[in-house]
Symmetry: C2
Subunit: 553 residues, 2 copies
């Protein structure tokens, strides 16, 4: 299977180097299988100083056995690595920098490690190449960031290296291909190695793409990042969810969409079977989703609202529920889900009507960022889905509905909705004069400010006050006034002249709840189809198995 042509050494330096490295650990390998105990020695031989190393680091799935091993290699032998990681999530990811094993970092997201990245950057211990969106980072793996070594995680492998990823396929295929097809080295940790290929439920990545598999000391870590406990949803979230349904989804006929991770959007999911049903909207809106398998979507699925959900990643506890609903979710012949972040981000960028998300700070023009002082979170997929993709050509009712001119060359627009409470918990205003990100960018010497979503891509701002239909703004001044009109008692909102609110309402540029037929008195938790995680389990007929930290029973 690996017959090599006779190659001119001048044109096959990468392959020669790869074979040199593979040969150097031949004594440690049984075909593609490495022993668990040999992993540190193997990594030390397979990786060279200055290499570009992809470490998986996804939003949920973590190749944590490999990252814990990588930290143990000798920095006097292997150092100055350039790490490429979709998501920086684990302490050892940054230990690599403190130990001098790694030097440069290109990444897309850093949830739990965002404070420490910021600190290491200030201390000169870590150098950031750039903060990316996920797909942008994958794209560079095939252009100017081709990796030497790729370290990933799967569920099972056979002794030929065939890999079964389980539900959490996530970023793995896009990361592996970049090395497998440019003479890089691919190493996969798995929870189990099976002797008989027929014992693999299915193959997600062929063995001919993978150099080594190694059984991890314990199953890979998976973070339940998309589970929102309905108990924490407040009446204000319900009010905003009602406005989203009437003032955005119903009004523009939003049929395909992506939801962010917050309680706001969880509230929308949970009132579809109650409030949405009452409005007669089932089958008319919210049919096709690009979304992680949110537990809060279970009642809408069970009530027949949802035709399809394609997933970026999996969600811990949702495996059996997803497998039991193959008409809705993407599952393989073996019955388990295959998620795929690259394809789902592509779909979320190009094929859905609407992206709705939240942010920590938004300025008066609608620019937003999750980067605040001392916190370098990165953006994940938001900038990719939260912009109007200029390459889109197919029309849908929602997309066409945002055309505001009679220019014969006019095109539709993706709906990008910022759904924010005007204040964060702790009394910090969400809507601010200037984003912290501007100063952070300057102080960190970034060539551009780390903006998550640019104001000119935002079509709607939805707060507890109302909705600003920004796509209708005819000038920057008007856009500012519209945002200020729904900015409540934030400094931006306080500068707003209340007299102009009436005119903005009359012109249809903003709408208050009553303008869209939303009754504030109805906005109570009783509209939630599930009020607790236990309710979600009941809706799922016991198929959803929430992680321990979400169980109160």
């Amino acid at each position: 299977m690996q017959a090599q042509r006779k190659l001119d050494p001048q044109w096959s330096k990468r392959r020669t180097e790869k074979h040199r490295r593979l040969a150097s650990i031949a004594h440690l390998a049984d075909g593609p299988v490495l022993r668990t105990a040999d992993i540190v020695a193997a990594l030390q031989a397979l990786i060279s100083s200055g290499d570009r190393v992809v470490l998986e680091g996804n939003n949920q799935k973590q190749a944590d056995f490999l990252s814990r091993a990588l930290v143990q290699i000798d920095p006097s032998k292997v150092n100055n690595l350039h790490l490429i990681m979709p998501s920086v999530s684990r302490p050892e990811h940054l230990d690599l920098f403190e130990r001098g094993i790694a030097r440069k970092l290109d990444f897309a997201f850093a949830g739990a490690q965002s404070l420490r990245i910021s600190q290491l950057l200030q201390d000169g211990i870590l150098e950031v190449g750039a903060i990316h969106t996920y797909v942008e980072l994958y794209g560079r793996l095939y252009v100017d960031l081709c990796p030497n070594v790729v370290l990933v995680a799967g569920f099972k492998a056979d002794r030929q290296g065939n890999l079964y990823t389980g539900s959490s396929t996530e970023d793995t295929p896009a990361l592996v291909e970049a090395a497998a097809f440019r003479d890089g080295i691919v190493i996969a940790q798995v929870n189990e190695i099976v002797d008989d290929p027929a014992d693999l439920p299915r193959v997600d990545i062929p063995g001919s793409w993978i150099d080594f598999v190694v059984q991890a000391d314990k199953p890979f870590f998976l973070e339940p990042l998309f589970t929102r406990d309905p108990r924490l949803i407040k009446p204000v979230h319900v009010l905003m969810a009602m406005m989203a349904i009437r003032g955005v989804y119903e009004r523009h006929q939003v049929q395909s969409l992506n939801h962010g991770i917050g309680f706001n959007t969880a509230a929308i999911e949970l009132i579809l079977p109650t409030y949405g049903e009452k409005l007669g909207l089932k089958g008319k809106i919210c049919k096709n989703w690009t979304l992680n398998p949110h537990p809060t979507l279970i009642p809408a699925i069970e009530s027949g609202w949802v035709e399809s959900v394609h997933c970026f990643g999996g969600e811990l506890g949702m495996e059996n529920y997803v497998a039991a609903r193959p008409d809705v979710f993407f599952t393989g012949k073996d019955g388990s889900m295959r998620s795929n972040r690259a394809l789902c981000q592509l779909a979320g960028q190009y094929a859905v009507d609407l992206f709705i998300g939240s942010t920590l700070q938004m300025d008066g023009l609608g620019n937003s960022s999750t980067v605040t002082r001392g916190r370098l979170t990165g953006f994940g997929g938001a900038p990719n889905m939260g912009h109007d993709p200029g390459g889109r050509r197919h029309p849908t009712p929602a997309w066409l509905d945002l055309i505001e001119t009679d220019d014969p060359l006019a095109r539709g627009k993706k709906l990008v909705v910022q759904m924010v409470e005007t204040f964060q918990g702790g009394g910090q205003p969400t809507i601010v004069e200037t984003l912290d990100a501007v100063a952070v960018g300057k102080e960190s010497g970034m060539p551009i400010a780390p903006i998550m979503i640019y104001g000119d891509d935002v079509t709607h701002v939805l707060t507890e006050e109302g909705i600003a239909y920004l796509y209708k703004a005819r000038s920057l001044e008007e856009r500012k006034a519209m945002i200020a009109a729904v900015a409540g008692v934030t400094p931006i909102g306080m500068h707003h002249d209340p007299a102009s609110t009436a005119k903005l309402r009359k012109d249809g540029l903003i709408a208050l709840p009553e303008d869209m037929g939303v009754n504030r008195n109805e906005a109570t938790r009783s509209l939630l189809a599930a009020k607790s995680v236990a309710d979600l389990v009941t809706w799922s007929d016991g198929l959803y198995e929430p992680p321990a930290k979400f169980r109160s029973w």
Copy 2:
């Protein structure tokens, strides 16, 4: 490998229906292997009226055995199919509509069939869903256009259905995954079925994703779409290529890029080793490419200009050359290339500095289309790569160089260059008052005009007259004047006041050859590193094997 959980029939209708269809042809199948002679009967049983069917139809690779078989099914039994095709290229693709087997078409490109599609549309025999970019169409396969059946082509398969695509992997993985993981049916034609899995050079798509493989009556058709004969490159192309190098690539430090298919860009490729070398630009520009393996890139590769090329598809005759240059191209352990249109389009959208292409018509604001009267060509990948991706966050020198404000929130811009001669062969002006596409869109009842690239995404217009630096335009009026200034003796150019040219030059908004140090006298064919296909073969050391129609010896 295919153990099924006990599923609630209400939630597994797709799977039940799939199993019903598979069972109906159990007598025709030997595991996943179908006999060549049974294909029409099998398709007739596996496809139902009204199904969404993906037929591969790519830019180059054609599942032509399957399309020829599909045309033979009985339209009284199977009809009203909704065809989804990246590229409509073969006569039988449209025979499907004339025979009533298919009714609706969603597609991205239609080269040779563009006239006939237009005719069938007018005659009411074919209904167009939308014209897409490639990635947009893939995205919809996971959202609102999930296919029931996917018909693809590969090079070899084994008796477990494992698929080796050869160099022309192209769209196949993105198409197959959409059906394999939503209980659709996947059928692959191959040139050869091998008994021993070890006889597959590598696996591109695992057998557990594929339902049936069938040996085609003859090898799949592959169109050499990206081969440009250097003999047809004219001095004016050389002049424009010189301007591109000095006025765009050198000026903005373009390091990563995509080239279109025309003689203009072929000329750039061919003068890198001569003109580019003389300017000392090697290693400074044009290092990382997203590109089909253009034969005209061979001299630049051989001269050491090119670090990497990731390919959308393959190119007939380039197989051995590509396999012999693994440091440059993406090849597998077996030594042959794996192209991947989805990933390459992602890279071409998000990871490269520049897209440069040509068009049939451009209006005075820079809007362009290849759709002209009577010709519905579609757009392929151009709209995807020819726009500024709003989700991009990583900086490169070229991207940053296009910032024209001191706004602290400013971001860079992708370079989108339209490189056009002011007149087409036959004396038709390229730069026109109004695009034909506007009328075509109206007459065909399209909800938006079929624009390929929108003017506000175009950063540079390059004609034989000079370069308009559109990204510097401060108003629509100024943009118009800049384009008119390089529009030559087209109607748009004739209305231009020559007096204003001097001011535009002085302000650096446009540049004539002399302004960028380009000597018109040097613009001769003698700058071409290869002047014929035979020269390309020589450069390649005999590795490039041009198709017969490009051989004159």
